[in-house]
């Protein structure tokens, strides 16, 4: 196979940090470089893939490079479990097994490594998913930043729950399981010593039980997605694009914790593009919306679930709009690139 340079118009000859931020730059890298190298993608890019030949089995992999490795509300170990468990859950799957690969920088205190691995083990135990295989590599000082972790997970889908980013339909209710912006602002504040870290903690947590609670609704649940890198703005834009629908949300009902709002104001960030690790958006058929909300609210991690908007007919497909506080409409664009590097 010969690989031609797919982006002759790109004058940026090197990788920028923004290429890993989950926004438009990441999408460009995937579309122009990564996917063509593997022969293209068979469909929308989902949080987890169906294992070819097995209708119910789902696979997902994720690497964690968060800096710092300990932050209020979690650490790189628990995050590595939650991140992959949640990616499986977003395809309607219950986690069955995890692999864990470590890339450790020479000089990392063993006490720190023990702390992270204990936390990782506890997180996996709490979820109820065994770690069945793994790998450990050590690289020289400077060749990695303390500790990177990759986890891969295998899960099995719940009955008729088959959500996909391509299944949103006009009329769908858009539900959000909890407040946004906590993870990104916590990690940034901790890393840069901005002083908000006393007031906020990462929302890092597993969402598989929340998804199981929606299982009785079966095919009425059209899309599930956890808005990690790129935040709610990126997640909604991806869904709108992959489903070829228009989404409209109401600014006033999107739950933004006060400390997040103040931190974002001070730093010039938009809470809609800040990463989350413990909430999800669900697109459900309008007839099932109230029942879905009740199911979500029955669990602690979904106690603050709200309906934030719907899939609308009157806007161009692929577009996400927001009704502002004063009643005007504006477009919520796909975030561009680096605002908060290395938050997961």
């Amino acid at each position: 196979m010969s690989i031609q340079c797919p982006t002759p118009h790109e004058e940026d000859a090197v990788v920028l940090l923004g290429h890993g931020a989950g926004g438009r730059l990441t999408a460009e890298l995937l579309d122009h470089l990564v996917l063509p190298a593997f022969g293209g993608s068979a469909g929308p890019l989902e949080d987890a893939a169906l294992l070819p030949g097995y209708r119910e089995l789902v696979v997902s992999t994720d690497s964690f490079v968060v800096s710092p490795i300990f932050f209020p509300g979690g650490d790189i170990g628990s995050l590595a479990v939650h991140g992959t468990v949640n990616d499986l859950a977003m395809r309607g799957a219950w986690p069955h097994a995890l692999s864990v690969s470590l890339i450790v920088e020479e000089g990392l205190p063993l006490a720190d490594l023990r702390c992270v691995l204990t936390s990782l083990g506890k997180a996996a135990q709490d979820v109820g998913v065994p770690v069945i295989t793994g790998d450990t590599k050590v690289v020289g000082r400077g060749a990695a930043d303390r500790l990177f972790i990759n986890t891969t997970g295998i899960g099995q889908r719940h009955g008729r729950l088959h959500p996909s980013a391509a299944l949103a339909r006009p009329g769908d209710a858009v539900l959000l399981s909890g407040p946004i912006g906590l993870h990104g602002t916590t990690v940034l504040s901790t890393r840069e010593g901005l002083g908000f870290e006393g007031d906020i903690a990462s929302d890092s947590r597993p969402l598989h039980k929340l998804v199981r609670a929606l299982a009785p609704l079966g095919e009425s649940v059209h899309v599930l997605r956890d808005p990690t890198r790129g935040g709610l703005a990126a997640a909604l834009n991806e869904i709108a694009r992959d489903s070829s629908v228009a989404v409209e949300i109401e600014e006033g009902v999107v739950p933004v914790p006060k400390a997040v709002a103040s931190a974002c104001d001070l730093l010039g960030l938009d809470p809609l593009v800040v990463a989350n690790e413990g909430c999800m958006v669900a697109f459900v058929a309008p007839s099932a919306a109230e029942e879905a909300l009740a199911h979500l609210r029955s669990l602690p991690e979904g106690a603050q679930a709200v309906r934030i908007g719907e899939v609308v007919e009157h806007n161009p497909r692929g577009r996400v709009t927001l009704r502002t506080l004063v009643g005007a409409r504006r477009i919520v664009d796909m975030p561009l690139g680096e605002q908060l590097p290395r938050i997961c």
């Binding site: 090197v14 923004g18 709002a261 730093l267 004063v326 009643g327 005007a328 504006r330 477009i331």
Partner: protein, 367 residues
């Protein structure tokens, strides 16, 4: 943190809009000076809800946008030197210089770091005595006191490895220059609340009197802007031209005199070129004689710089409010946040970026 709820209340916002519609009888043109205000107006869509015919003209108050190309090129030339840590606020990193931008330089190995306050740069210098730490000091009167404090602190610590590329600008000379232009359409100003928190509003009183133009010192939240616009319209409707203060919770007439003292100690007023607008007399700050040792332009000889603007960019007309971003042939096509031709497409306070983020197109660009 109640201020967020209080100043973003939808019911109160609608009430103010209703009052505005009842008050305005003519298609008034009001300029908000500050990019932060532009950001809120466009983000909330406030300018789309104004009474028919009324227009907000977006002003030159985006510090990133008016920083001259030569300053940027100088920063990049300094950043490319071995041993230098160039520090800056995040917004500056993507602004295109003549050849490249700071983010791309960083990806190629330059040590470019985002700081959240100039004192962070001083701390970096103290922690790395073997490196030269340079802070790119841009901004209006708002950021000048913090930058002055950083210089005073570095002097107290006797740091010899800390310096600044100073490109500070001042609001009143820019307003005067706009008003002196015979084509100026601006009938009233919303002055930038945070600039006035530092400087007070005495400087604006002679401008209001001489040009017979109402000036309302205004905050940045949706309700601040709506109230500021309403106050300006009331003045216009009744033929008054005073300086009024909407932002009473942050601004008093004399401003913050301690901050002004620090600025006067460290900086002095100088002529300054504004990107897109041109040179304006007495419109900027440079390091005063006693603090020249912290001037990066003196410390680093980067040779002759040849800044070349992209010929297609109409940033000057955007910054003075003469044109809308959507009037530009390159807007949204050859010029996007991904590939900006000019600074207003970069900063979140830039008018072009604000328009682009809100999805505005030539067909839907409510002025």
């Amino acid at each position: 943190m109640k201020y967020l709820d209080e100043y973003r209340d939808p019911v109160l916002a609608r009430r103010l809009l209703d009052e505005l519609r009842q008050t305005a009888t003519r298609p008034w043109r009001i300029m908000e000076v500050c990019g932060g205000q532009t950001h809120t107006l466009v983000r909330q869509g406030i300018d789309e809800l104004l009474p028919a015919g009324m227009r907000m003209i977006h002003g030159p108050g985006c510090p990133v946008c008016v920083t001259p190309l030569e300053t940027l090129d100088r920063a990049m030339a300094v950043a490319a030197r071995p041993g230098v840590i160039l520090t800056s606020f995040g917004d500056m990193l993507r602004v295109p210089g003549t050849d490249t931008d700071l983010l791309s330089l960083r990806a190629r190995g330059a040590d470019v770091r985002v700081v959240y306050a100039p004192m962070d740069a001083v701390r970096l210098a103290a922690a790395h005595p073997d490196r030269e730490v340079v802070f790119l000091a841009v901004g209006f009167e708002t950021t000048a006191p913090a930058n002055a404090m950083a210089v005073l602190h570095a002097a107290r610590l006797r740091l010899t490895n800390f310096s600044m590329i100073v490109s500070h600008v001042l609001v009143p000379p820019a307003m005067t220059a706009l008003l002196d232009d015979p084509d100026c359409e601006v009938q009233a100003f919303l002055a930038a609340g945070h600039v006035c928190a530092v400087m007070g509003w005495t400087e604006y009183e002679p401008i209001a009197a001489r040009h017979r133009v109402p000036i309302v010192v205004t905050g940045f939240e949706p309700l601040d802007l709506l109230e500021g616009i309403l106050m300006a319209v009331r003045q216009l409707e009744s033929g008054r031209y005073e300086v009024e203060n909407q932002y009473v919770r942050a601004v008093r007439r004399t401003g913050n005199t301690d901050a002004q003292d620090a600025v006067r100690r460290v900086f002095r007023v100088t002529d300054r070129a504004w990107r897109g607008i041109g040179a304006l007399p007495d419109s900027g700050l440079e390091l005063a004689e006693g603090y020249r040792e912290f001037d990066a332009a003196r410390r680093f000889d980067v040779g002759g710089l040849c800044p070349v603007e992209d010929p297609e960019c109409i940033a000057g007309a955007i910054l003075t409010g003469a044109r809308l971003p959507t009037d530009c042939a390159a807007y949204g096509t050859r010029c996007t946040p991904r590939h900006p031709l000019g600074a207003p497409m970069v900063s979140s306070e830039g008018t072009c970026a604000a328009f682009h983020a809100a999805g505005r197109t030539p067909a839907r660009s409510t002025p």
